[in-house]
């Protein structure tokens, strides 16, 4: 019973509108951040923030799902639900990172890719698939950090990485618990039960080997302390990954996903 409450409680924290967003972490972790805009195809989708940032004299490419911090910003950012242009923008910056040999840091925080008419017309599915495929073969280190709500393909689209970190109070799942309950039990109000079953907390996902590390959060001064920790992790993980030959980096990344899923013989 206590576990059930736990998963739902974490879900509530992850969704809390006052929780720090990607831009808050970015400005706390990096020394400088220049946001760059647009997918060069259709528009600049503001649910995704991309750019270049500095840390200890080294440049990183940043790709981040961004929720709004107030109603006005939320409307502008479509409540952090990306349209296909977000993913195409992300792909553009992945390729740019590869060209200039910069590591890529992605921040995951979304309820999911936006389900709208325009999104379908402009190939939401294709954009997500391309983004994952691009990451799978990108010749620079990639670190993904789940900071809030990581829901469905819209989250995973920027989450194919060498190392996946997850904040203690973030969630990561195939779908929202409401959606899960509505599909499996035809009852969206059973979201609490669903959350308990879905293995969506950092602890569950660490056990399932979906993520590599849990980043503990603090009661006080959380943003600063967590950012410090993330900064340290980014520095040390990048250093390790850059020691690898390109071939090994890609093969390790491939194996990581290749091994997702356990089986028994029939």
């Amino acid at each position: 019973m206590s576990k059930k409450i736990e998963a739902w409680d974490i879900m509530t924290i992850a969704r809390n509108p006052t929780r720090p967003t990607a831009l808050d972490y970015i400005s706390n972790i990096f020394e400088d951040f220049v946001e760059l805009h647009g997918d060069r195809c259709f528009k600049d989708d503001k649910a995704m923030v991309c750019g270049i940032a500095m840390l200890k004299g080294k440049a990183y490419t940043i790709i981040a799902e961004q929720k709004g911090r107030n109603t006005k910003e939320n409307i502008e950012r479509n409540f952090g639900m990306p349209n296909p242009e977000s993913y195409r923008k992300a792909i553009r910056f992945m390729k740019q990172a590869e060209k200039f040999k910069r590591p890529v840091i992605t921040f995951i925080d979304t309820k999911g890719a936006y389900p709208g008419i325009g999104a379908e017309e402009r190939g939401q599915g294709e954009a997500i698939a391309k983004s994952m495929m691009t990451m799978a073969n990108l010749k620079v280190p990639i670190i993904s950090i789940v900071i809030g709500e990581g829901s469905s393909g819209g989250a995973l689209a920027i989450g194919v990485a060498d190392k996946i970190l997850m904040l203690e109070n973030a969630v990561y799942s195939i779908l929202s618990p409401e959606g899960f309950a509505s599909i499996l039990w035809k009852d969206g109000t059973k979201a609490k039960q669903a959350a308990a079953l879905m293995k969506m907390t950092a602890k569950d996902l660490y056990e399932l080997k979906v993520i590599d590390e849990i980043i503990k959060e603090q009661e006080e001064d959380n943003l600063n302390k967590t950012s410090k920790k993330l900064q340290k992790e980014i520095l040390s993980i990048t250093k390790e990954l850059e020691k690898l030959k390109e071939k090994d980096l890609l093969q390790n990344r491939y194996n990581k996903y290749r091994n997702m899923g356990e089986f028994v013989n029939i």
């Binding site: 079953l197 879905m198 899923g261």
Partner: protein
């Protein structure tokens, strides 16, 4: 959500059925979902499960699909007898899989192996909508990935027929991860230079649309197939307005530039053969390296 929609549609249609059931020998007749004509099952199957009156393409089992596409006697299924470990420990799930296996005679929602199309060897994976609406859990993800890797290893073209409600809810996050797994192996296939033809059939949605199915060098679809990322019901609930006529049909996707060609079922094998042949010299070159 998509699965839900499809089930609802069938139920809805059944309720509106105006036929006097007593006149019809059970199991021998079927009503066209589109024009409502009553069709003799044998005639329908001889016509590749396409309605002879209105050209409506009925959904196909993987077995029937393979029979239509692959030269007789050439299909060798991969020896992959694997089962999922029920990662979320859902009580009903294992039982459901067991019942479905008995009912459908297939192990899982995809059948894959090596076969010939007019003499040309291919790796082929065919999804099956009769098995939990073709949803992709760990076993489907593994079988698709294995097929992709076999294509690379044996230097063969790859053909995947998709039909799916998306990632399989019952296996939670592990199903989601199959999207990354399959997309990663397609990246590998592209590096190796193999041809991948993705064929989308009714319906293809969610995590399958958003992974390997959208990553073909050439993407074909059957006429009127419903294809999308988000299901129509979810979109309607989100935007609170009616969806445009023809939304998410194969024709809609063709118009918006997301598929290469719509191919009638009677022409599918010929079209695949033609495309395979156009890539044969390249495949040979690869072999000689």
């Amino acid at each position: 959500m998509v699965i839900d929609k499809i089930k609802k549609r069938n139920l809805h249609e059944m309720q509106n059925e105006p036929i006097k059931r007593a006149d019809i020998p059970i199991g021998k007749w079927v009503k066209c979902n589109n024009c409502k004509e009553i069709l003799y099952k044998d005639t329908l199957h001889k016509n590749l499960s396409v309605c002879p009156y209105c050209d409506y393409h009925f959904r196909l089992s993987s077995r029937r699909r393979l029979r239509q596409i692959i030269d007789e006697g050439t299909f060798e299924e991969f020896d992959l007898k694997i089962d999922n470990v029920n990662p979320l420990n859902l009580k009903e799930y294992s039982k459901k899989i067991q019942v479905l296996r008995e009912k459908t005679g297939i192990d899982e929602a995809v059948k894959c192996g090596i076969g010939k199309i007019n003499g040309l060897k291919v790796v082929i994976a065919v999804m099956d909508g009769n098995f939990l609406m073709g949803s992709m859990g760990t076993v489907v993800g593994e079988k698709i990935t294995y097929s992709i890797e076999q294509a690379i290893e044996k230097k063969l073209p790859l053909i995947i027929f998709s039909v799916s409600g998306g990632a399989r809810m019952q296996e939670g996050i592990m199903s989601l991860m199959q999207m990354a797994k399959t997309a990663s192996s397609i990246a590998k296939l592209n590096e190796a230079g193999n041809l991948f033809i993705s064929v989308l059939t009714d319906p293809t949605y969610g995590g399958v649309t958003a992974s390997f199915a959208s990553l073909g060098d050439i993407i074909l679809a059957e006429p009127k197939a419903m294809i999308g990322f988000a299901g129509p019901r979810v979109i309607k609930e989100t935007i609170k307005q009616e969806l445009p006529e023809g939304f998410q049909t194969a024709e809609f996707l063709l118009e918006h530039g997301f598929i290469d060609k719509i191919v009638h079922r009677k022409d599918m094998k010929d079209m695949l053969y033609k495309l395979l042949k156009m890539h044969t010299p390249y495949q040979k070159e690869v072999k000689n390296v």
